[in-house]
């Protein structure tokens, strides 16, 4: 038993609470130091202006590092030269855009003035097409399978989600080793084919593995989103269908898929938005977009044009960024429109 300062005699267990109380008071004292300027400020400017004090730090950083760059991006796209500071750069009008867009034939990158850019656009297009459909199908199937589970759901959900958390560099290196000349895949492959293949140095194989690794990396995220959509479908609909004697196949095509469609469309657009921005893991995996330019994507073009060459063409890179930004804007608007439609 211990007598505490409030004069009560409490059992020992509660005395422990009051020692926590002491820590509490210490924290209280420490907080007083932080609190003091805020309290003074409130007395000075009044309660109604306090919310501004709370948003201000976040807004300041946000303005400096996001808003201002967004505005500057457009400025850069219309200037030339190699100076980094905007006010030192000459205005060149649409020159950067016309360079990017001048092509003999848009179907053949080799006829374009900047063939690397158009190669990147083509590569990004096929990557986006395969990656988006592939991820959507794999995620949908996985979500359907997980949704059926009565036990072990959390376990398998965790397994499929785990790669999402890894860093792009780690993912690229793990796969690079798996696909290496001495890698595990070649150990199996050589047994069957009689020879080893350096997968990442062959155009078709490397493109296949870039998409494969990307699906492997991100599918867990989309699985979770689709799974949440599936779980939002009321159970009693299926019970009603069961009583009606609806076959499981019909249940899927006539109930699950239509009810899930808004969710799937949003996932698809999200996938498109993310696919267009492919860079990190593909860049590390293919040693900078190789073999040759088989896996060079638009973001890589922007990054290398602006930062990884001796002549830093910030204007050209920004013009390419603005073009990509426009493509993303269209996709975002589509997504908002779909989201609104789903709500109604």
């Amino acid at each position: 038993m211990a007598a505490t300062d409030d004069g009560y005699v409490r059992p020992a267990r509660e005395a422990a609470v009051s020692s926590g109380d002491r820590g509490d008071r210490l924290l209280e004292a420490a907080m007083g130091v932080v609190e003091w300027p805020f309290t003074r400020l409130q007395r000075l400017i009044g309660l109604r202006r306090m919310p501004w004090v709370f948003v201000l730090p976040n807004m300041a950083l946000f303005t400096i590092f996001v808003f201002i760059p967004v505005l500057l991006a457009i400025g850069y796209a219309f200037t030339g030269g190699t100076e980094l500071l905007l006010w030192n750069r000459p205005f060149v009008g649409f020159e950067n855009f016309s360079r990017l867009l001048s092509c003999g034939s848009y179907l053949d990158p080799a006829t374009c003035e900047l063939d690397l850019f158009w190669t990147a656009v083509f590569n990004t297009t096929w990557y986006t097409a395969f990656n988006a459909t592939g991820t959507l199908v794999v995620s949908l199937v996985t979500a359907l399978v997980l949704n059926r589970l009565t036990r072990g759901k959390a376990f398998f959900r965790a397994i499929f989600f785990y790669p999402v958390l890894l860093s792009p560099v780690v993912v690229a290196l793990v796969w690079k080793w798996f696909l290496a000349r001495n890698g595990l895949l070649n150990a199996v492959f050589a047994d069957m084919m009689g020879e080893r293949t350096i997968f990442l140095l062959e155009v078709l194989w490397s493109r296949f593995w870039v998409v494969y690794v990307s699906i492997w990396f991100h599918m867990g995220f989309y699985t979770l989103i689709i799974l949440a959509g599936l779980q939002a479908i009321p159970r009693d609909i299926y019970e009603a269908a069961l009583i009606d004697g609806t076959s499981r196949w019909r249940q899927f095509w006539r109930l699950t898929l239509p009810l899930l469609m808004p969710n799937l469309l949003v996932v698809l657009v999200l996938l498109l938005i993310r696919s267009v921005q492919v860079f990190d893991e593909a860049w590390v995996l293919t040693d900078g977009g190789g073999p040759g330019t088989a896996n060079t994507f638009v973001v890589q073009f922007i990054y290398e044009t602006a930062f990884a060459t001796d002549v830093r063409l910030y204007g050209l890179a920004s013009a390419a960024s603005v073009l990509m930004g426009l493509a993303l804007l269209v996709l975002t608007l589509v997504q908002l429109w779909l989201g609104k439609k789903a709500e109604n």
């Binding site: 300062d5 409030d6 004069g7 009560y8 509660e14 609470v17 209280e28 309660l47």
Partner: protein, 363 residues
């Protein structure tokens, strides 16, 4: 303790005015109930007194000092919220002491006040529990305790009993009344339940559509409702109201008639013949059966609610369409289909102007 004066108190959200210039005086130590249907502005008014809602026009003064621009804590009020608004992550003790710590009060003083409130509300055993581990009634008491420890000048209650079950509600009503006697603090109590207002308050303010309909002692409102709204709102079951007409005046008296009541003579000096009126009769102001033997008014009974010690008869007077409710003390043997003589008690007939709804008097 403080007296409160409101002067032309107005609240507007943009162009929408919800409180229309209220004037009200509250004496020191009074228990005032603000009562009215939902949306009448009673909660908004309480929150303006508390300082949680800004004042669009007019002013509020505590003890003659205008408090319009003061924060809640500067006004020295404390408030019990409808949801109790207990801090869910703090123990009962911390819930009680939080406000005192904010005032940078000495630890010993805080502990003393918490102990005092806990003793008063019998919360000693729960001081180290979190609100989640308490019953509804206990939470309610913590909410009151949190208001007490600050020794406020004015207590504000915002429908504090609406989350309790019927039995606890009656009990807590008693506790709050006892608290008021004990502390003698000015209390303002918002409720939509006229029974709470009638049983607890010393003064009732009936609000409707952002305006004060009537201010008075509970019995005054019951006996002398100033208008149709108050007449209908105060008293349960509601006052029976019939469309009638003044058919003639003789000296200081007027004869009023309606299909339900037939012709009644009421002492009314200033009535013009032919004026349309509403005749109000409270259910409890009827003599029934043997007591009303010989009355020309007959009640066709449709439904009988017998509670043992009292009886409610639902029926029609004089074969009219309007339903009339009659309340009889004690048990009365009656069955649907019965026809009973009834007589309005003298001095309990209310007359209202049909157009304005204002009371013309009682006779």
């Amino acid at each position: 303790m403080a007296s409160i004066r409101m002067d032309g108190l107005t609240k507007a959200y943009g162009n929408l005015e919800v409180i229309h210039g209220i004037d009200l005086d509250i004496e020191e130590g009074e228990f005032v109930a603000l009562v009215g249907p939902s949306g009448c502005g009673k909660s908004t008014m309480l929150r303006m007194i508390a300082g949680l809602e800004s004042i669009s026009r007019g002013e509020i003064a505590f003890d003659g000092e205008v408090v319009n621009e003061m924060t809640p804590s500067e006004r020295g009020i404390s408030m019990v919220f409808q949801s109790y608004a207990l801090y869910p992550h703090l123990t009962v003790r911390k819930n009680l002491s939080f406000g005192l710590e904010n005032l940078r009060m000495k630890r010993a003083e805080i502990d003393a006040r918490v102990a005092e409130a806990a003793r008063m509300l019998e919360l000693d055993a729960y001081l180290d529990r979190k609100p989640k581990a308490l019953s509804g009634g206990q939470r309610q008491r913590v909410a009151i305790g949190r208001a007490i420890v600050r020794h406020p000048k004015v207590f504000l209650f915002d429908e504090p009993l609406s989350n309790l079950d019927a039995k606890l509600r009656v009990q807590t009503r008693g506790e709050i009344t006892r608290l008021h006697r004990q502390l003698g603090t000015t209390m303002i109590y918002v409720t939509h339940d006229q029974v709470e207002a009638m049983t607890m308050a010393g003064k009732i303010v009936v609000l409707n559509g952002g305006k004060v309909e009537q201010v008075g002692r509970p019995l005054d409102l019951f006996e002398r409702p100033a208008n149709l709204f108050v007449a209908g709102f105060i008293g349960s079951p509601r006052m029976n109201l019939y469309d009638g007409q003044i058919v003639g005046t003789e000296g200081g008296a007027a004869r009023v008639a309606s299909p339900e009541t037939g012709e009644l003579t009421v002492p009314l000096g200033h009535a013009a013949s032919g004026r349309a009126v509403k005749i109000g009769l409270r259910p409890s102001h009827f003599a029934v059966g043997a007591e009303a033997e010989g009355s020309p008014l007959m009640l066709d009974v449709d439904q009988v609610e017998s509670l043992g010690h009292e009886t409610y008869l639902h029926g029609r007077l004089n074969g009219a369409e309007t339903t009339t409710i009659v309340h009889v003390q004690n048990h009365l043997d009656a069955a649907p289909g019965d026809r009973l003589p009834v007589r309005p008690r003298a001095g309990h007939v209310h007359l209202f102007d049909a157009a304005s709804g204002q009371s013309l008097g009682r006779a």
